[in-house]
């Protein structure tokens, strides 16, 4: 890069002038390192949840623990990673680290973790005897112990029921793994063999980061790196401020209810006050309920902050994630002991999805009137996870099939909501193909996997459709489910209607039919059909303003009925010709307004 002559720096004390061009070159280089970490994770992992679902994120920090680069991954993870590094560095100062050291954590209370399945691996990167960067990966491990297979229990009553807690620990010293730690870890997991492989993948990703960082530093010099990091962080901050400045100064409020905490079905009151002043935004959750008994009702502070950051990132023009600076203008407040900042030992695993998604939607609602172009109507809610577990007597293998599910998103100012897409915080998560699922899990057969007709909320831009995934259990087993939006359906905006609520139906249509939303460790005999149904998204805008042709399309596609077209949209369709009856439509619509 000699055409950018100042980039070749000889020694570490030299200050290097960082212009916008150098900044972009450095940014591309650092993102490239993180990207290569992801490639390594992707290709060396063992479990479905990592390889197929991509439930992991990799990031890079500088030597002071400031976030400097993220790549594609899971938004909620990206905004949380600095809690991990803070917890690790508080216990293991950088000055005491040695090359080859590896640090591990998962505990939200002591380790900066998101939930216990998400295990963090942090590795220092040395250059000339000094820690100049730290790589970190967070990956969802299939099971971390606790009361139910998959460790995803919406009715957990304390953190101990959610699995093994790992405070920040030194997993390896100078490259030698402390097997006492891994043995305890694997002994507490229901399917340790997959996690062994996934651990190897996380460590391989960290080694990739080190290798690439060394090559980059060799080529570009440490002085350039250190100077560029400050400017990178300033650049991230400027981007966030520019987005916040587009919101008119003011105080915005919203409140509502979440469905259940998983133990009791009393609705959970949630409230937010957003104060925008210039380039700063204060998000205050005071007014929300006190922390709840069950996991589904508690959003750990790490996730409260991360989800709030996530929401602001939606408003910015960053494509590949932010950095330390991106979060500086975002100030989050929640009373200790409340559902958005529960105190130890409150259970928090599923609440990350349940309450975290609510949190983002609450912010959309608060700002809807000033950001009508940016906000979307209500989505199907949390990750909608379902765990199906059983024991194959033929092979002696216990199987655990854990997966998040997709549903309907809310309508928007410019388009209908997407059907069948993963939840707000999940980003580039994939489903598990039915054919792959059946090949891997001997006791399960997919009966159907389809859109739920009539589930979308009507609107000028309607919501997306939820999906029904029906499993036939061919072996005896058990299920654990954590659905959302079963009582308070996805809301419509600006006159749009609500979407249809969710539900898990056991043996639908039979005389043993039962409906669940949150349940753990429910034993079922062979032959049981489990129908997992996510909610449809809320509509955006007055349904009577929807283009009649689009209403007809949904009728022709069997997604709504001719009666729905008339009652929800005021569109009259000739049942024989299947065409729009324009005069009748005008009559219906004028009667609606």
């Amino acid at each position: 890069m000699s055409n950018v002559a100042p980039m070749r720096a000889a020694n570490t004390t030299e200050q290097v002038q960082i212009d916008p061009i150098t900044l972009e070159v450095v940014r591309a280089g650092l993102v490239s390192i993180v990207h290569e970490m992801s490639i390594t994770m992707d290709r060396t992992s063992y479990s479905t949840i990592i390889r197929e679902v991509h439930d992991y994120s990799c990031v890079l920090f500088d030597g002071q623990g400031r976030l400097i680069a993220q790549a594609e991954g899971i938004p909620i993870f990206n905004g949380s990673m600095n809690f991990v590094i803070d917890a690790v560095l508080a216990r293991f100062p950088v000055a005491e680290m040695q090359p080859g050291d590896i640090f591990i954590s998962n505990d939200p209370y002591t380790g900066g973790g998101t939930h216990k399945n998400d295990i963090n691996i942090v590795m220092p990167i040395f250059w000339e005897g000094e820690v100049v960067m730290l790589s970190a990966s967070k990956a969802h491990h299939l099971d971390i112990g606790g009361k139910d297979p998959g460790s995803w229990s919406s009715d957990a009553r304390n953190t101990f029921q959610e699995g093994l807690s790992i405070p920040p620990m030194k997993l390896a010293t100078r490259g030698v793994i402390n097997e006492a730690i891994t043995e305890i870890l694997f002994a507490n997991m229901r399917v340790p063999q997959l996690s062994r492989g996934d651990f190897a993948a996380q460590i391989a990703a960290g080694k990739t980061a080190e290798l690439r960082a060394h090559a980059w530093l060799k080529k570009n010099g440490i002085a350039l790196f250190k100077s560029a990091v400050n400017e990178l962080i300033n650049h991230g901050e400027r981007i966030t401020r520019a987005a916040i400045e587009k919101i008119p100064d003011g105080v915005y409020k919203a409140s509502g209810f979440a469905d259940s905490d998983g133990v009791t079905d009393d609705p959970i009151r949630i409230a937010v006050t957003v104060t925008v002043k210039g380039g700063d935004i204060h998000v205050d959750f005071t007014g929300s309920d006190k922390q709840r008994e069950g996991a589904a009702g508690n959003c750990h502070w790490v996730n409260t902050v991360s989800m709030t950051r996530e929401f602001i990132m939606f408003l910015t023009d960053i494509a590949l994630g932010g950095n330390e600076g991106s979060y500086k203008p975002i100030h989050v407040i929640a009373p200790k002991g409340s559902v958005f900042r529960p105190s130890y030992p409150a259970p928090v695993t599923t609440g990350m999805g349940d309450m975290g998604t609510r949190l983002i939607e609450l912010l959309f609602q608060a700002l809807a009137d000033v950001l009508p172009q940016e906000v979307i109507a209500g989505t199907f809610g949390n990750f909608s996870c379902l765990t199906l577990a059983g024991f194959d007597e033929e092979t002696g293998v216990e199987f655990v099939h854990f997966s998040p599910y997709a549903g309907g998103w809310g309508g928007r100012s410019h388009a209908d909501g997407n059907s069948a897409m993963v939840s707000l915080g999940s980003g580039d998560n994939f489903n598990v193909p039915c054919e792959v699922m059946e090949t891997k899990f001997p006791g399960l057969v997919a009966k159907q996997y389809r859109l739920i007709e009539r589930s979308a909320g009507a609107g000028r831009h309607r919501g997306g459709y939820g999906i029904a995934y029906d499993y036939l259990m061919t072996l005896p087993g058990e299920f654990t489910v954590a659905l959302d939006r079963d009582k308070y359906p996805p809301y419509g905006l600006f006159g749009g209607r609500n979407g249809r609520p969710s539900g898990l139906v056991v043996n639908p249509g039979s005389d043993q039919e039962r409906v669940y939303a949150r349940a753990s460790g429910v034993k079922v005999p062979a032959g049981t059909v489990i129908s997992h149904r996510t909610a449809g998204g809320g509509g955006y805008g007055n349904p009577a303003e929807r283009d009649p042709q689009l209403v007809l399309d949904d009728v022709l596609d069997g997604l709504i009925t001719i009666e729905d077209a008339a009652s929800d949209y005021g569109v009259s369709i000739d049942p024989a010709a299947l065409t729009i009856d324009r005069p009748a439509t005008e009559r219906l619509r004028s009667a609606m307004t």
Binding site: R27, T40, S47, P75, A200, A319, A415, S419, Y449
Partner: protein, 689 residues
């Protein structure tokens, strides 16, 4: 006299290459005709023959009947797909799975983008029909086919107006019997319907990817059939006596009959020609490992040649739709001569992916463009000669370029227009270097083992910067860089790929079962090439097994020989490859195989690239044709300019310098050395001071 002809049909231009019986290449460029690509091809063929005959002189003219081999890309398929101008197509699938095509993989590829809209399904829901049946992953039938239900669906298909139908049943790759029976029943009711079976088009696991592939195939059969019928009819009228050949995305050629059955395999045939051409040239000049970089106006296609062969992948995406078929691996990024420079809300300089395209194009093209592009930046720095662009046929607007870079980039960034222009080139090459790394490391390849081969209209303008920004060892700009795709098509082998999913533990693998599946694939693949006139003994067959550790999702493709499956050998080779690609292997997990793959290759005659004589006394010593002020390393400097026709093999020059020919410009930086080889390719290396 036998000659060979190829046509690479791009969105804007069609490149043609005629290889005559003496091994001489005749290269032509004509405008494409997107309304009906056939017209541009026919026009190009005639122009190419006329120009070649003029060169060859009286008595030695080549007529259409002398063309024994005519190969071209099926851009028509890609174009129809991208523009979604597809005929009415239906889908028949297992009861319960009607919406697989619309659910897709449920991911949001743009994680912070609330405005993301999933692509409209390739086949609307009203044309997706369900039938009663179910096969398990073992191939065992769980629910028998409801033939009466299929007959009812056939009647609905007939009434629907669909001309094609994709049949995609769950686990059909493991047992295609139900799909085959469904086809028979549909054909009874709808004899003219195009029916494509997922087990034949893409016999692999994963229902969405297989359905997507089969649906694309079904929807494009009518398109390619009509196109090839019309084109070959008119070519026959011009005197062509041979069948047409079509380039596939896998870098092999197939006859028009196979292309009519499997158009999905031709979708990315255009860009793949460049990689095949690159591979061929690399072999000719003794390079094993090459990154090809085809930089055009709106985008850059990056491909790989490793160990002398173009690298392929077994799955790729077009417009968000997955295609399960072997394809030359191409990473397309939004960086080209027309890429636009802009400032993000944090004041950072970005270039692309937005492009000014061909229209309005860069400001300097005088077609109404008003955004600063990479080409404008090159003109500001005097890398381009405004009077010699396209050999002087196009007059570039220097004032316009200076204005737009000053106004929209330099002003806001408070720097000079030259610094801003250089900055745009630095940023765009940083993104290209990042993409090159990405494609290499994803395959476990070390960039330092690779040579960058830069071609396409804009490749040479930034090749020096790119060499410096990336980790490759050296760069090469081929002679005739614009025609490399068309040359590639001329030198491709016949190729047919067949595959079958068979998931078995390695330890308990039944060699007979494997042999049976390979025998079936062999008959299918070899048969296709023999059908097309190749002799069975000239067909080379390669076999591969996809292997992974039990529990792992991803697999590695391991070559095997044609004897009985040697399990121990396969495991050893797999562990070696895993170690190479991922840095470790393990005995902790048993191995299993997932897919069996077979490739049949039929070799074609190879042309010789024209060679040039070394510098003679008559040529005089090497000296620049002209000099001009070009901006390098922070200032304008008096820079030597060489014309390609003045250069001779063996000429060696130190940068900074510029080499020009009518269709391309090669910019070499300070501390870089350019060497001309026997084919007049330009080799560029960093010389450490």
């Amino acid at each position: 006299m036998s000659s060979r002809l190829s046509a690479d049909i791009g969105g804007t231009f069609t490149d043609l290459v005629l290889l005559d019986e003496a091994g001489h290449l005749h290269v032509q460029k004509t405008p494409s005709t997107p309304d009906d690509f056939k017209n541009g091809v026919l026009n190009g063929v005639q122009i190419t023959l006329a120009a070649a005959n003029e060169t060859r002189g009286k008595g030695t003219e080549i007529a259409m009947k002398d063309v024994e081999y005519f190969v071209h890309g099926a851009t028509v398929v890609l174009n129809a797909l991208i523009q979604r101008k597809l005929p009415t197509t239906a889908l028949v699938t297992t009861a319960g799975f009607r919406d697989v095509l619309e659910i897709m993989r449920t991911n949001n590829p743009f994680m912070y983008d609330m405005r993301y809209v999933k692509p409209a399904p390739l086949i609307p829901r009203r044309l997706r029909f369900e039938i009663g049946e179910r096969v398990l992953h073992t191939g065992e039938v769980m629910t028998e086919l409801d033939e009466a239900g299929v007959r009812e669906v056939a009647l609905k298909l007939k009434a629907s107006g669909a001309t094609a139908v994709a049949v995609c049943l769950i686990h059909a790759y493991a047992n295609p019997a139900h799909e085959q029976r469904v086809r028979d029943i549909i054909c009874e009711t709808c004899p003219d319907m195009v029916v494509c079976l997922s087990s034949e088009v893409a016999g692999e696991q994963r229902e969405f990817e297989r359905t997507s592939t089969t649906s694309i195939n079904a929807a494009t059969v009518p398109i390619i059939t009509s196109y090839l019928d019309r084109l070959s009819g008119e070519l026959r009228d011009l005197g062509l006596q041979r069948d047409l050949y079509v380039m596939q995305s896998n870098g092999g050629v197939i006859t028009s009959n196979v292309a009519r059955d499997l158009p999905v395999r031709t979708v990315l045939s255009g860009p793949s020609g460049g990689v095949v051409g690159g591979a061929y040239l690399a072999n000719e000049i003794g390079l094993d490992n090459v990154v090809t970089l085809d930089m055009g106006g709106t985008s850059t296609d990056i491909g790989l040649v490793a160990h002398g062969r173009a690298v392929t992948v077994d799955e790729s995406h077009v417009d968000g739709w997955p295609i399960l078929a072997p394809m030359i691996e191409i990473l397309a990024i939004g960086a080209g001569g027309g890429s636009i420079g802009w400032l993000d809300s944090g004041g950072g300089l970005r270039v692309g992916p937005q492009s000014a395209g061909a229209v309005p194009g860069p400001v300097c093209y005088r077609r109404g463009g008003d955004e600063p592009t990479v080409s404008d930046a090159c003109l500001v720095l005097s890398r381009l000669d405004p009077d010699y662009f396209l050999g002087g046929r196009m007059d570039l607007d220097v004032d316009g370029a200076n204005w737009v870079i000053s106004e929209k980039v330099a002003g806001p960034l408070k720097m000079s227009k030259e610094e801003a222009a250089q900055g745009m080139i630095t940023v765009v090459t940083a993104n290209m270097a990042k993409a090159m790394r990405q494609i290499l490391v994803a395959r476990g390849l070390d960039p330092r083992d690779f040579t960058l081969m830069a071609f396409g209209g804009a490749g040479g303008m930034v090749v020096g910067d790119l060499l410096r920004a990336s980790d490759v060892k050296r760069a090469l700009v081929p002679n005739n860089p614009g025609a490399l795709c068309a040359i590639g098509m001329l030198v491709t082998d016949f190729r047919y790929d067949a595959s079958a999913t068979l998931v078995r533990a390695l330890k308990s693998a039944d060699a007979d079962e494997v042999a049976k599946v390979f025998a079936r694939l062999d008959t299918e693949a070899r048969g296709k090439l023999v059908e097309e006139g190749l002799r069975a003994e000239d067909v080379l067959v390669e076999r591969y097994v996809d292997v992974r550790y039990v529990g792992q999702e991803y697999y590695l493709k391991i070559p095997v020989d044609d004897g009985p499956l040697d399990v121990a050998m396969l495991e050893t080779e797999f562990n070696k490859e895993h170690e190479r690609v991922y840095g470790y292997s393990t005995s902790l997990f048993p191995c299993e195989f997932v897919n069996l793959r077979l490739t049949a290759l039929g070799k074609v005659m190879r042309p010789k690239f024209p060679t040039y004589a070394a510098r003679s006394a008559a040529d005089g010593p090497l000296k620049p044709d002209t000099r001009r002020q070009v901006y390098f390393g922070g200032r304008f400097a008096d820079t030597p300019i060489y014309r390609i026709e003045s250069l001779r093999p063996g000429d060696t020059m130190m940068g900074p310098l510029v080499i020009e020919d009518p269709n391309s410009t090669v910019v070499v930086l300070a501390d870089q050395q350019a060497t001309v080889d026997g084919y007049k390719n330009i080799l560029i290396e960093e010389i450490d001071a």
